[in-house]
């Protein structure tokens, strides 16, 4: 049983590694850029204000990246990181579909839907 799934294990492993490395590189690049530009500013995390709208949604972050804002680029890296396990679930959806394993196809589709719904921000009240 476990050995039959060896191929899937390896594919998932490659996907997870690639995702984390890509995400970390984008975060690092955005971070260096931000610190070169604004490294001398004093950060204030003592009082919670919440992030500005542009850093709170996938669409907002993409617009910020198009405008070349370093903070948006870091946030894009973090979004890529969040997307990595979601892509992993997507991959298992395909794998179970190919095997005609209907129970697990239904389970993985359910998890995938919940994850995409959560990240999309649909269904949340604004505040």
């Amino acid at each position: 049983m476990q050995r039959n799934e060896e191929h899937l294990d390896l594919t998932i492993g490659v996907l997870l590694r690639t995702g984390v490395i890509t995400a970390a590189s984008v975060v690092f690049a955005g971070g260096v850029w931000y610190l070169v530009r604004s490294g001398m500013l004093a950060p204030n995390y003592r009082a919670f204000q919440g992030e500005p709208e542009g850093l709170r949604s996938v669409g907002g972050v993409l617009r910020g990246v198009a405008g070349l804002h370093p903070r948006s680029i870091i946030q894009l890296g973090l979004l890529l990181l969040v997307a990595t396990p979601i892509a992993r679930v997507g991959l298992t959806v395909v794998a179970f579909a190919l095997r005609r394993d209907w129970i697990y196809l239904a389970l993985t589709i359910a998890v995938f839907t919940v994850l995409v719904w959560s990240l999309s921000g649909l269904g949340y009240s604004p505040h």
Partner: protein
Amino acid sequence: MGSLNSLEFSLLVGLFGAGAGFLGALTGLGGGVVITPVLTLLFGVDIRYAVGATLVSVIATSCGAASLHLKEGFSNIRIGMFLEIATTLGAIAGAFLATRIPTSSLGVILGVVLLYSAFLSTRPKLDKHDAVPAHPLAERLRLDSSFPTPHGWQPYRVQRVRTGFAVMFGAGTLSGLLGIGSGALKVLAMDHAMRIPFKVSTATSNFMIGVTAAASAGVYLNRGYIDPVLAMPVMLGVSAGSLLGARHLSGTETRILRMVFAAVVGVLAVEMIYHGLSGRI
């Protein structure tokens, strides 16, 4: 530490993150457990920003560790996928709860969970392979499998599927509430309730943590808890540290380190509870 500029702050937080990631990977407690207390107690960061940054770093370490375990053949993808239904729903519920309860209560709950995790990490781990009859639900879901041992592939049978599923919902809720991986509770559900061998439980837990955390990340992002400039050094530091830690996994000195780290986690936990109760978080 209000006088630091962003560059100094990032370097310092990155160093702490690397240390936490290294010890977390080495001891199996996970790096995330100490990041939120360190950020709030030492750096004076609001717990909501701290939780947002920690959650992101948890995804990175979990994915990194999971890719290592997958090569070894310990992870059980079916068990992981089945239980992820419970953890993702729990995580979203927990993340919504986090936006509604006072931050001082969050601090106290985190402290209690930390104490319990530290206690669990000092418990001896036994790989029991009792001959047990198959559980009907486990059979239907084909959860039973085998794992590699020095004497070849050892089969195991999954027990108490419903109890495990319920505990997993709780683990997911705590993960979403506190921005942690809840690895200790996940392992407890699998190895204690479901009688899954410890190595399989640990590997499968790592496999699930990323998905659980990704479920609550959406809520955190939407509520403005994820600050890129704070999350950047935390994520990079913890990832680098845990990568190094995972390479040094086998060694006799890990037992002493495990006790030391458990003690550090215990002290941070008591501080979190004290600060929470006195309303300073």
